[in-house]
């Protein structure tokens, strides 16, 4: 029996307290425990991290780039969602 390919994992790291985990890269590992160890050994060698998540790449569901128009363009016209849309007299100061 041929050895199956070693699964691919995505690595997310929180670099400082208060920050969100951010995708930093991928690695191969046979299971979650090994993936976490490998993530530590590969992606935090220069003190980059305080917390690690590893997620099987196969568990990620991605939006289809071909549907970019339908997915994201409708949001672009809703400028009233942004604070700069509204005028407040300067005398009032920062709001």
């Amino acid at each position: 029996m041929a050895t199956p390919n070693t699964p691919l994992w995505e690595v997310f790291i929180r670099s400082r307290n208060g920050l969100a985990h951010k995708h930093v890269g991928s690695l191969h590992a046979s299971d979650a425990t090994m993936a976490l160890q490998a993530a530590r050994d590969i992606y935090t060698r220069r003190g980059e991290g305080l917390s690690i998540w590893v997620v099987p790449s196969s568990a990620i569901t991605a939006s289809d780039p071909a549907e970019k128009g339908m997915m994201f363009e409708p949001a672009e016209s809703k400028i009233y969602r942004h604070p700069t849309f509204y005028e407040v007299p300067e005398d009032v100061g920062h709001m």
């Binding site: 690695l27 191969h28 090994m34 160890q37 490998a38 590969i42 060698r45």
Partner: protein, 258 residues
């Protein structure tokens, strides 16, 4: 000008630091031999990290030994200009890498001890050793976890991996007793609160080993015949070759700055 071996005034404290430094350097050196040759890239990374931790520990311990000795030696003289009879490391750490199972079993035996040892040494009355211990303890805790996970996968992986791990355990077992031995010089340091008695760690060390071995369905040997000699410079034949490589530059080009 040829530089022969340096003389080291091995007072109990110098010798104590030197022994731990030699352990760390020799094991770090062994692990560094894997760099570029590991079974997967992720393990090249992991073993190099462990090697770097150990070389770092060795450097601190050598520097401390040199400082205590106060005879103009330094980390490099201590590492590069003592011959096999002057090296004080455990026989365990000088054993060749063998296959990946032998490397990891060696690491597992050593790290399971080092983790307990450094944790205990954090309370040393010697503030330098206590500080080195505080840093080394975190490192060895991770080394232990890394090795344990592999032992479990070997044991509970394939028939071949199980067999290789068991062979390595049986082969290396006789080198583990030395970790718990104490001589008169060390006994005085233990009494003074500078060192800890490694004998008191053996029970917990065995518990760690048993837990991992049981999960891995591997067997720890029953025989209690233990090889000794590393601490007093009576080594296996392997160490001389390791040192001839490690020291080749300093021996070929004596007294230069690199």
């Amino acid at each position: 000008m040829a530089i022969s071996n340096i003389e080291v005034a091995e007072t109990p404290l110098v010798l104590y630091a030197l022994r731990r430094a030699d352990d760390a350097l020799v094991l770090g050196h062994r692990l560094s031999e894997w760099c570029g040759h590991a079974p997967m890239l992720e393990e090249d990374m992991a073993l190099s990290n462990i090697a770097l931790d150990l070389i770092g520990q060795a450097r601190e311990l050598y520097s401390y030994a040199a400082k205590v000795e106060d005879k103009g030696n330094d980390e490099d003289k201590l590492a590069y200009l003592r011959d096999v009879r002057q090296y004080r490391n455990l026989l365990l750490v000088e054993q060749p890498n063998g296959d990946f199972a032998q490397t990891l079993v060696r690491q597992f035996f050593y790290s399971a001890f080092a983790d307990l040892y450094w944790r205990a040494m954090m309370t040393s009355r010697d503030t330098t050793l206590a500080a080195i211990a505080a840093r080394s303890e975190k490192e060895s805790a991770y080394h232990l976890r890394h090795a344990s996970e592999w032992i479990i996968r070997f044991g509970d992986g394939t028939e071949e991996s199980h067999k290789r791990a068991q062979v390595a355990i049986d082969h290396l077992w006789a080198f583990t007793g030395e970790m718990f031995a104490v001589d008169d010089g060390e006994r005085a340091l233990i009494h003074a609160g500078v060192a800890i008695d490694p004998g008191t760690l053996r029970g917990r060390w065995l518990t760690t080993l048993s837990e991992v071995a049981s999960e891995a369905m591997l067997t720890l040997p029953q025989n209690d015949w233990m090889q000794q000699g590393g601490r007093s410079g009576r080594h296996s034949e392997h160490l001389g070759h390791l040192l001839s490589e490690l020291q080749s530059m300093q021996r070929t080009f004596p007294g230069l700055t690199w």
